[in-house]
């Protein structure tokens, strides 16, 4: 497997001299194609800053981020917009659905912005079916539950078959039942469609669906866990995650 996303010596500092805050302090990550990578850490550890750097929301102070060999900090104008909309699919904690568009119209938004191909409609039907949103796809967001909204948002993130899906606390606004249902779908997409997913979460349960987890503390990679795909159950992986979280200081309660 080759790395699709390559992050080298990534730094993001705020303030100057005495007041300098090192939100990210020299992180190296390789995300392989078809991998489901989780980033975990306590509040203020730098996990969201990392995701924001990848999503081009903020500019890093140093280091490089490459997607498929292309340095993203050098992208500008149309190419930057293309990266945000087509190369990267983003799953937001608060869904970010446009409230005056129906579910279907929301899913179509990236196509409307970046043009799909002739298989787009077919893909949309497939995603709608897979994510089990046939009954609500023509409703407006105000008529959907949180879980339904996030599944519509997932379909929107996946519609253009992006190179990588960035998920920012996707279960953060969902109840446990809906959270589990969404994670099962994401895991399925990762396995069946070979979708590359990079998920930031503080939810150990959600993280247990990942194939690899990197733990961040004080802007640095603190630890890494890899699920043994062949033998390990999700329950066992969850236990291992919890142990690391405990080492991080104060256990999951502190993280949550």
């Amino acid at each position: 497997m080759k790395p699709i996303l390559k992050i080298e010596s990534l730094k993001k500092y705020y303030g100057k001299q005495d007041n300098l805050t090192r939100a990210i302090d020299g992180i190296d990550i390789n995300v392989m194609e078809g991998e489901f990578l989780g980033i975990m850490g306590a509040s203020g550890s730098g996990k969201s800053t990392l995701l924001n750097c990848i999503a081009t929301v903020i500019k890093p102070t140093g280091g490089t981020i490459e997607l498929n060999g292309q340095e993203i900090s050098k992208l500008k104008g149309t190419k930057l917009a293309q990266y945000r909309g087509k190369d990267m699919g983003y799953l937001f904690q608060n869904f970010e659905l446009v409230d005056n568009l129906t579910g279907r119209e929301n899913i179509m938004l990236p196509i409307s912005l970046h043009k799909g191909n002739e298989n787009t409609e077919e893909r949309m039907d497939k995603l709608i079916k897979y994510l089990e949103i046939e009954d609500i796809v023509d409703k407006f967001p105000s008529q959907m539950s949180g879980g339904e909204k996030q599944r519509v948002a997932a379909a929107r993130a996946l519609i253009l078959n992006p190179k990588i899906i960035l998920a920012d606390e996707p279960t953060g606004a969902l109840d446990s039942k809906n959270a589990k249902s969404l994670m099962t779908k994401l895991e399925g997409l990762n396995k069946d469609e070979n979708a590359t997913i990079l998920m930031v979460t503080h939810d150990s349960n959600a993280a247990s669906f990942c194939s690899r987890i990197m733990f961040i503390q004080d802007g640095k990679i603190f630890h890494e866990l890899r699920k043994d795909r062949e033998n390990e159950t999700r329950a066992s992986f969850y236990e291992r995650i919890m142990k690391v979280m405990a080492q991080l200081g104060g256990g999951s309660a502190n993280v949550l």
Binding site: S48, T49, L51, N52, A55, T56, V57, I58, G77, T78, A81, Q82, Y83, R84, G85, K86, Y90, F92, Q93, E96, L97, V98, D99, N100, L101, E105, M108, L109, P110, S112, L113, H114, F140, S142, R156, D168
Partner: protein, 708 residues
């Protein structure tokens, strides 16, 4: 610290919102212009001709000022509302930081007063300049450019402008403050669109738009068929039907926008663009309907005003410049009795004497025509039995008139008179010759007809001409005649010294026989165009009139074309000023409301735009979407107003505007073109300003927010 904050906020508001500042300045100009109308050169001049006019004008200015106060209140209200709502988040932050509502209110009040002062500092000099320009242009356009220009500066107008402007500014501020301070801090901090309203079944919207269209068609029918003008009840019926039609149509129009949104299109953000348009139509259908009605009022006023101004011919029907009433001729018995009593011949103002008088004061040479016209009535013989003596009967003609009047405004009864005026054929033909028209030729037992220029609406004249083709029989002084030829409308006097609504033109022999001494002469005179002083009729009329008036021995009852022209000028200036002024005020208000509503809605939809940015929308794509939304948002009410205005202007021509304005097609086309160009220009400026503000706002959303 507090005053610094107020100053900084005021400065920032001026910089950021051109639309708001422009609205304030426009309001000031509108106030000053209406209040200083009486100081315009042309109005001062009319005052010298028609002193009555000034009273009408003062009454009109007061009413117009009150009306302007009301309509401009809405302009200021919407502009200020936008100005405050766009800062709702900032105001929420102040309150979060512990600022009391009373202090926040005081801060906004100070900012409001500061922005008003800035608007007055800019607006008042601009108003003065605008008013001066208007004064100079109108005297030139009307043809009295030789008048000495006087400044239009009026302290009273200036103070009233200040008072009116500050009053509506403060009242609107209090209204906005009340709604603002009722909101929770959370609502102020969140820039979210209004709660999603429950959508009704699409068929309901389709039915509503259809019903609206039917009501509108009904209103159009009532208007163009002239039914609205029958009486006040029909007028109210037309208005109510039109209003219901407009509001219902705008409520239902979302059906079509939803269809367009659902239509497949390769254009970027097609669905988003039309859902945004649909959103504004859903939440603001009432506002859009009001704006459409304002644009309609503006177009109709503009059409009427410009038509009056461009097609109104001050010289239309201008034949004579002076008419002097001669004394009644004395019968032979009366003449002899006078000579016997006073020992001298009576000093009557006979046509011959008046001609000599004019010659003596040296004005005859200024005339190209000077002659009398005899106008009389049938002299009933003393021995006649009134029971049997039929002075005049035209029942036959009136019956025919009812058939040909086309059910329009039937005023045929005004033509029927027991003792109709009779014009002597040769006298009338001299007037026709003067204005280069064909003379009336009458055979034995024939009469021609005359209808006054003011009465003669086109429909009545054409209807009566059809009657005349039938050669209807009439009875005059017991004799049978037939009415023949075409209806004559050339006036017999200069102005209103005599106002015969209807008259018969009769051969000289029959006139002498039937009228005998029961007539009065009027001496008409027309100025020689070659002898106009500086080629200007106004100056020449003033010169001759002064000559006649300065000669104390001449005691005439006379009128000059100055009276006529004064009245015409007043009508022209008052009508065109008021209508064009109202048109501009309506248009400015409609556009400001539309623009402000759009920008407020865009601000409230900022979350949607931010999502688009996160999905990779470029500034260019978002601007294209916004541009299209603005085109539709302005286009829908304007299109409905444009269709309605077509019928509205036609209705005006059918009902209010007299036949004087219904001149040649080419004049109307020029008027239409002027209206269209002015309208398109104003709309383009507004749309561009709103687009610019929208693009600028979208630019601020381009950097996705950090989600930590």
């Amino acid at each position: 610290m507090f005053s610094k904050l107020v100053l900084r906020n005021t400065k920032r508001s001026q910089k950021e919102n051109l639309l708001f500042m422009s609205s304030l300045v426009i309001s000031i100009i509108a106030f000053y212009v209406v209040l200083s109308i009486k100081d315009q050169d042309i109005v001062r001049y009319i005052q010298t001709l028609e002193s009555d006019a000034i009273n009408k004008l003062v009454a009109m200015i007061t009413a117009l000022y009150a009306f302007t106060l009301v309509v401009l209140f809405f302009l200021i209200y919407y502009a200020s509302k936008y100005q405050i709502e766009r800062r709702s988040h900032e105001l929420g932050v102040y309150m979060m930081m512990g600022m009391k509502r009373s202090k926040l209110f005081f801060m906004l009040l100070l900012e409001d007063v500061a922005s008003s002062v800035i608007a007055l500092v800019i607006g008042l000099p601009v108003s003065l300049l605008f008013s001066e320009l208007m004064s100079l242009i109108t005297v030139k356009a009307v043809g009295v450019g030789y008048l000495e220009h006087q400044s239009t500066f009026d302290l009273r107008a200036l103070l009233l402008t200040f008072a009116g402007f500050m009053a509506i500014k403060l009242v609107s501020f209090f209204f906005i403050s009340i709604s603002l301070f009722r909101k929770e801090i959370g609502a102020l901090l969140a820039d979210s669109p209004d709660n999603i309203k429950k959508r009704k079944h699409p068929a309901l919207y389709l039915v509503a738009s259809f019903v609206g269209a039917v009501f509108l068609a009904g209103a159009y029918y009532l208007a163009i068929k002239g039914i609205s003008w029958i009486d006040l009840r029909y007028m109210m019926l037309t208005l109510i039907v039109g209003l219901i039609g407009t509001f219902t149509f705008f409520w239902g129009i979302r059906f079509f926008i939803d269809k367009i949104a659902r239509r497949k299109s390769g254009k970027k953000l097609h669905v988003f663009t039309f859902r945004q348009v649909e959103d504004t139509v859903i939440y603001k259908s009432g506002t859009m309907a009001i704006c459409s009605l304002l644009v309609l009022s503006s177009l109709v006023c503009m059409g009427a005003g410009v038509s009056v101004f461009t097609s109104y011919d001050l010289y239309r029907g201008h034949v004579m410049d002076y008419t002097i009433r001669c004394d009644m001729p004395l019968s032979e018995d009366m003449y002899n009795a006078y000579v016997e009593a006073y020992g001298e011949t009576p000093d009557l103002n006979t046509p011959e004497k008046i001609k000599d008088d004019l010659d003596n004061i040296g004005v005859t040479e200024m005339f190209s025509f000077i002659d009398e016209i005899r106008i009389g009535n049938v002299k009933v013989p003393e021995e006649a039995d009134m029971e049997d003596f039929d002075v005049y009967n035209m029942d036959n003609a009136m019956e025919l008139m009812k058939q040909y009047s086309d059910g329009f405004i039937y005023s045929g009864d005004r033509m029927y008179d027991t003792y109709p005026y009779l014009f002597r054929l040769s006298d009338y033909n001299k007037i026709l010759q003067l204005c280069g028209k064909e003379p009336v030729v009458l055979g034995e037992g024939e009469l021609a007809t005359f209808i006054d220029n003011d009465v003669s609406r086109d429909q009545i004249v054409s209807g009566f001409n059809k009657v005349l083709e039938q050669r209807p029989q009439v009875t005059l002084a017991g004799k049978d005649y037939v009415l023949t030829g075409q209806v004559q409308t050339t006036p017999v006097v200069t102005d209103y010294l005599l106002s015969p609504g209807f008259a018969l033109i009769i051969s000289d022999e029959d006139f002498d026989q039937l009228v005998q001494d029961n007539y009065r002469s009027y001496l008409n005179a027309a100025l020689d165009e070659d002898k106009y002083i500086d080629g200007n009729i106004f100056q020449t009329l003033e010169y001759v009139t002064n000559k006649i008036d300065s000669e104390r021995t001449l005691i005439y009852e006379y009128e000059s074309y100055m009276n006529n022209m004064g009245r015409q000028l007043f009508y022209l200036v008052a009508t065109s000023y008021v209508t064009i002024y109202l048109a501009l005020v309506f248009l400015v208000i409609a556009n400001t409301i539309l623009g402000v509503q759009f920008l407020m809605n865009q601000k409230k939809s900022s979350k949607r735009y931010k999502t688009l940015v996160k999905l990779g929308a470029t500034h260019k794509i978002m601007c294209q979407s916004s541009s299209k939304q603005i085109n539709w948002y302005f286009g829908i009410p304007i299109a409905v107003a444009a269709v309605s205005s077509f019928f509205g202007v036609r209705a005006l021509f059918a009902g209010i505007l007299s036949s004087r304005t219904k001149t040649s097609m080419s004049n109307l086309m020029i008027s239409a073109a002027i209206v269209l160009i002015a309208f398109v220009l104003i709309e383009c400026i507004y749309i561009l300003v709103v687009k610019r503000a929208s693009y600028k706002y979208l630019k601020t959303l381009m950097n996705p927010e950090r989600e930590e």
